[in-house]
């Protein structure tokens, strides 16, 4: 909403404040003033000129040499506008003027002819092209005859005005009119406001004798008022009216249309003007459209209508799409002599739906959508009639043609001061609350210690007690509210064990060198199920914005790979990222997808890189595995963790494992399939993804102190040659089982394949630690236990001992 402060002055006197102070007060009271526009843009030396003569420039086809009276002085000015002509009154920017676009006007020579200034269009004065009357849109602006050369053009055009740009919240539709703004400013400044006085002399002829009205859709149109004005002379509006409309962001057309727009902005009540003669039937019928019915709207577009859309008809065919746009067939034009003014209440939902369906949002439809003030429907029609009499020479017929089933009674709200103060944490006296209601012009009585308020229909946002608390607080001043802290039943607060573990997981992964990524939950269908830990139907959006983000992800890995490719393409070649977040699996019984929190990670490039010491190591499977093991260790689950070789789509068949927690498969780990790496422009890349929820919901064992050993332990190393396919885990298991209770630790410390080892076999070495917490072990004890281990390895794994 653009609020001209000049126009506002007609209704409320705010002039003891600076405009900045006014804007600040309005903002603090609840309507955000986004900006202040100075329509003069600080211009100077802009005067009215009279074109005494205008001849073609001898050297240039499109230029004219004009002798312009700029007030007691004749100036020669070269003008290139197509519509320049002798006898016109025009806007002249004299040398020294600076236009809003930054152009500085100087004396100049154009093709050898002197030019002392510039004849201006409105656009050149900073008025948006879409607001310039169509007649002058392509050239200079021509002023009426009754102006005086040498006077300030800015004054004449009303440009010494500053505009407040309101950013209105959706509830404050009352401020979509100048009167609404006046009430607000009046309340803020404790000032009375001046409403327009409506008076005109009506003709003896009665409106209802020349126009019939029937409303067949009262639920969508509970009130309709039509007035008839005869002998109208359609012409350009007086300058002040054009100026006022342009200041409000509306393009002037002709006096009749301009008056309806003026009243729209003044009262917030949209009006429509029909050409009475073009209605042909002397009848208005409001009804729902017939399915498939067609009409051509003012913008010359033929529209096919639906049967829930409300139309105004002449009894035969639609003449307007109610509240949205008029029809071309009944439009006021220069030959119009009799005008029907329509002022109505159209149901907000109906207008909202229709304007959305036809894709038309206008100043009118936005106001109907919010609900106009029922008590201003008739008054606005009267105001328009008055202005048509005054400004278009019209003769207003007596009375109106009216349909009215609209409830106009004000809501009553009863409020006790305690209710207010208890919710604000303040002590505002009842009298002060009453004063605030007086400022808001909300009729209020004090009955039995309560405020009894009749809420004017112009404030449709005020419905419940809490609304009134806000009114009181905002005008009393939010700065006056003290700062306290809530007193509720005391709770310890804190993270749940699950949330605490999530933080542990994140911190651990970061300590391990991975940075946290954050990627989108929406994915492309081709990525949706890739790397997913379980098979589930894909959840699709009804109206995606793009294919790329049309379904919910079932795995985090694809987006992490995207992030990796992005980074690698920018020469960040070593990447270590992780993410925790939800994946979405199918649809549960309650209609929502199963949301499961996962953790995923990606590694590529170098893991250790310390160049000048010549130490570099690329990431590999075991780096990622170590990270996973460390994570389980952190969560006290390392003992229950296992890896088994696995085949997963898009992963390297020889370098991929399933991650097991006890007998539950909780994730995957491995290298991305070389083909996929290639497609994604990646080098060797390792990923893992695990169901974090399953892992974190598994109770960890209590952390208990284990006695620090008092007796020494004894270590024995063994080197074995086994089949290449024998897994380390299998060997370790055999050792563990055979070693008995004295065997405390088994650690693989060497692995070798190749020269000196028979093909198809490998050499593995373990270090075994024996320990008894009760006593010092003897050699005998160890030999006994160790030989059992060696036997078991020989028998169960067909291992050959290496000396």
């Amino acid at each position: 909403m653009l609020v001209s402060t000049n126009w506002l002055s007609n209704y409320v006197d705010w002039n003891e404040l600076s405009i900045e102070e006014l804007a600040e007060k309005i903002t603090r009271a609840g309507i955000e003033v986004d900006g202040i526009i100075d329509r003069s843009f600080g211009m100077d030396h802009i005067v009215i000129g009279h074109v005494n003569s205008c001849v073609k420039h001898p050297e240039a086809d499109k230029l004219h040499i004009c002798q312009v009276d700029v007030g007691g002085e004749i100036s020669q000015i070269i003008c290139g506008a197509p519509n320049i002509a002798e006898g016109q009154n025009v806007i002249v920017a004299r040398p020294g003027a600076v236009l809003p676009g930054g152009m500085k006007i100087k004396k100049a020579k154009l093709r050898g002819e002197e030019s002392n200034g510039m004849i201006c269009s409105l656009q050149e004065l900073g008025i948006e092209g879409k607001l310039v009357p169509k007649a002058y849109a392509e050239g200079i602006y021509v002023l009426p005859n009754d102006v005086r050369a040498g006077d300030s053009a800015l004054t004449h055009l009303g440009l010494y005005d500053r505009i407040l740009e309101f950013d209105l919240t959706p509830n404050r539709s009352d401020a979509l009119s100048m009167l609404g703004v006046a009430y607000e400013v009046g309340a803020i400044l404790s000032k009375d406001i001046k409403l327009p006085e409506i008076s005109y002399s009506a003709s003896a002829e009665k409106a209802q004798d020349v126009l019939k009205l029937s409303v067949e859709a009262a639920e969508d149109n509970p009130m309709y008022v039509a007035k008839v004005v005869k002998n109208v002379k359609v012409a350009e509006s007086p300058q002040w009216l054009q100026n006022t409309l342009m200041s409000a962001g509306i393009r002037p057309h002709n006096n009749v249309v301009d008056i309806t727009n003026y009243v729209l902005m003044e009262y917030g009540q949209p009006l429509h003007a029909f050409d009475y003669d073009r209605l042909e039937t002397k009848e208005i019928v409001v009804r729902h459209a017939r399915e498939g019915e067609k009409m051509v709207t003012l913008d010359q577009v033929e529209r096919t209508l639906h049967d829930h859309q409300l139309v105004i008809t002449n009894g035969k065919e639609p003449v307007a799409l109610a509240g949205v746009m008029g029809g071309a067939n009944s439009e006021v034009y220069e030959g119009t002599t009799t005008v029907v003014i329509e002022s109505a209440y159209f149901a907000p939902g109906s207008v909202r739906q229709t304007s959305k369906e036809v894709g038309l949002r206008s100043d009118a439809s936005t106001r109907f959508e919010k609900g106009v003030d029922p008590n201003r429907v008739a008054e606005a029609a009267e105001r328009a009639a008055q202005l048509m009499a005054e400004l278009a020479g019209g003769e207003v017929l007596e009375g109106s043609v009216t349909f009215d089933e609209l409830d106009k009674t004000p809501e009553k709200i009863i409020l006790s001061p305690d209710y207010v103060n208890n919710r604000l944490g303040m002590k505002i006296a009842m009298d002060e609350m009453k004063t605030i209601m007086d400022r808001l012009q909300i009729p209020t009585e004090l009955i039995n210690g309560q405020l009894v308020m009749d809420i004017p229909t112009r404030r449709q946002d005020l419905k419940i007690k809490e609304d009134m608390i806000e009114e009181i607080a905002r005008l009393y001043g939010y700065d006056e509210i003290p700062k306290t802290l809530p007193v509720v039943e005391s709770t310890p607060g804190g993270l749940t064990p699950y949330q605490a573990k999530r933080r542990i997981v994140r911190r651990y992964l970061e300590a391990a060198g991975l940075s946290q990524a954050l990627t989108y939950s929406l994915a492309s269908p081709k990525d949706a199920q890739a790397f997913a830990l379980e098979t589930a139907p894909v959840t699709k959006l009804l109206m995606p914005m793009s294919e790329e983000r049309s379904v919910l992800r079932q795995s985090i890995i694809p987006h992490l790979l995207d992030a990796t490719t992005y980074n690698v393409a920018r020469r960040n070649e070593s990447i270590a990222l992780y993410e925790t977040g939800s994946v979405f699996l199918g649809i549960e019984e309650d209609g929502l997808p199963k949301e499961v929190e996962h953790v995923a990670a990606v590694l590529t490039g170098k893991w250790v890189h310390h160049a000048w010491q010549g130490e570099t190591k690329k990431v590999d499977f075991f780096v990622m595995k170590g990270i996973v093991e460390g994570l389980f260790e952190q969560l006290g689950l390392l003992e229950r963790l296992q890896f088994t070789k696995a085949t997963v789509d898009q992963m390297h068949p020889g370098r991929t494992a399933t991650v097991w927690l006890d007998d539950q498969s909780v994730g995957i780990i491995g290298q991305v399939h070389p083909t996929v790496q290639h497609q994604r422009d990646l080098q060797e890349t390792y990923v893992m993804e695990m169901n974090l929820q399953s892992i974190m919901q598994t109770a960890t064992e209590e952390l208990l102190y284990e006695a620090v050993p008092r007796y020494p332990s004894i270590s024995r190393d063994i080197a074995l040659v086994v089949d290449r396919d024998t897994s380390a885990a299998n060997l370790e298991k055999i050792i563990q089982q055979a070693g008995g209770k004295l065997l405390k630790k088994v650690q693989l410390f060497d692995l070798y394949e190749g020269k000196n080892v028979e093909e198809g076999t490998k050499s593995v070495a373990f270090s075994l630690t024996y320990f008894d917490p009760e006593r010092t072990l003897t050699d005998d004890d160890v030999v006994k236990a160790h030989s059992k281990v060696l036997d078991a390895l020989t028998v169960q794994a067909n291992a050959q001992l290496r000396s």
């Binding site: 944490g425 809530p486 607060g493 940075s515 954050l518 990627t519 959006l541």
Partner: protein
Amino acid sequence: MKEQLHELKEQVMLKIKESHTVKELNDVRVAYLGKKGPITDLLKGMGKLPAEERPKMGALVNEIRESVTAILEERKEILEQQAIQEQLENESIDVTLPGRPVELGNHHPLTRVVEEIEDFFISMGYEIAEGPEVEKDYYNFEALNLPKGHPARDMQDSFYITEDILLRTHTSPVQARTMEAKDGAAIKIICPGKVYRRDSDDATHSHQFTQIEGLVVGENIRMSDLKGTLDLLAKKLFGAEREIRLRPSFFPFTEPSVEMDISCFKCGGTGCNVCKKTGWIEILGAGMVHPNVLEMAGYNPEEVTGFAFGMGPERIAMLKYGVEDIRHFYTNDIRFISQFHRSEA
């Protein structure tokens, strides 16, 4: 013999002086004081001396031996010192060579902001509540006083899965669910999480972003409590000198509703490019829980009141760290993410 002894001493002294290493010195010691050395020989030869001269000569030999030993020791210490010096010199390194970096990862900047806010509220006795990202229309809208047909809930603005299921557009459904679950009991929660809106991604919009909301419900919860709470939060996030101001605003789920501005942390309120010359920066929206919302969750709004507030970690991170484009948070450019590992406390 006496002369012989003195001559010997002179000789040893010279040899000691000429020794430049501990080993050479040791050789000297062995050569002169050892079992086969001349001094031992001399002592052995004492028997040939007349008895009366023996004690005198014996004392002299001992004296010489002791003094040679002392000098040897002295020299040994010097040589050892020299050896250590030499070793240290050889071991000397260029301390300006780069150290071995400790490769730590770090939090995403949004997690950093969210955890800071969480921890602040935990210290004030709040719990963290979480809920599904795909929500029922009921919890996302209806329970929050946005009935069907409300203009603020256009299908165009949200990602719907079905008519009744959508990606949540705010974290407020967690509040609705918590209120419903608490069955009339008092509440003090913070709800962080991802939310989704049908916006095209640009410098200031992201179809996925994060929110963190707070909710307190109980008897006698007042707007002054909201103001006091937000004041502490502003000071925690943006510095102890921050002032706050509340401006009336509108949200369907609160009444009265406010927006909170903080005094500009860059210019302190005098006006700069961060606060767009106003001295104030808009940080969050808040208000007293709308009676309809309380009622739908089973509270009696005549007896129980509450306040709620919500903010965008993206906006806070953008302000705190001077990030100019919201898309940085979701691009996962390592050059961006890795800038957020420094601690600030």
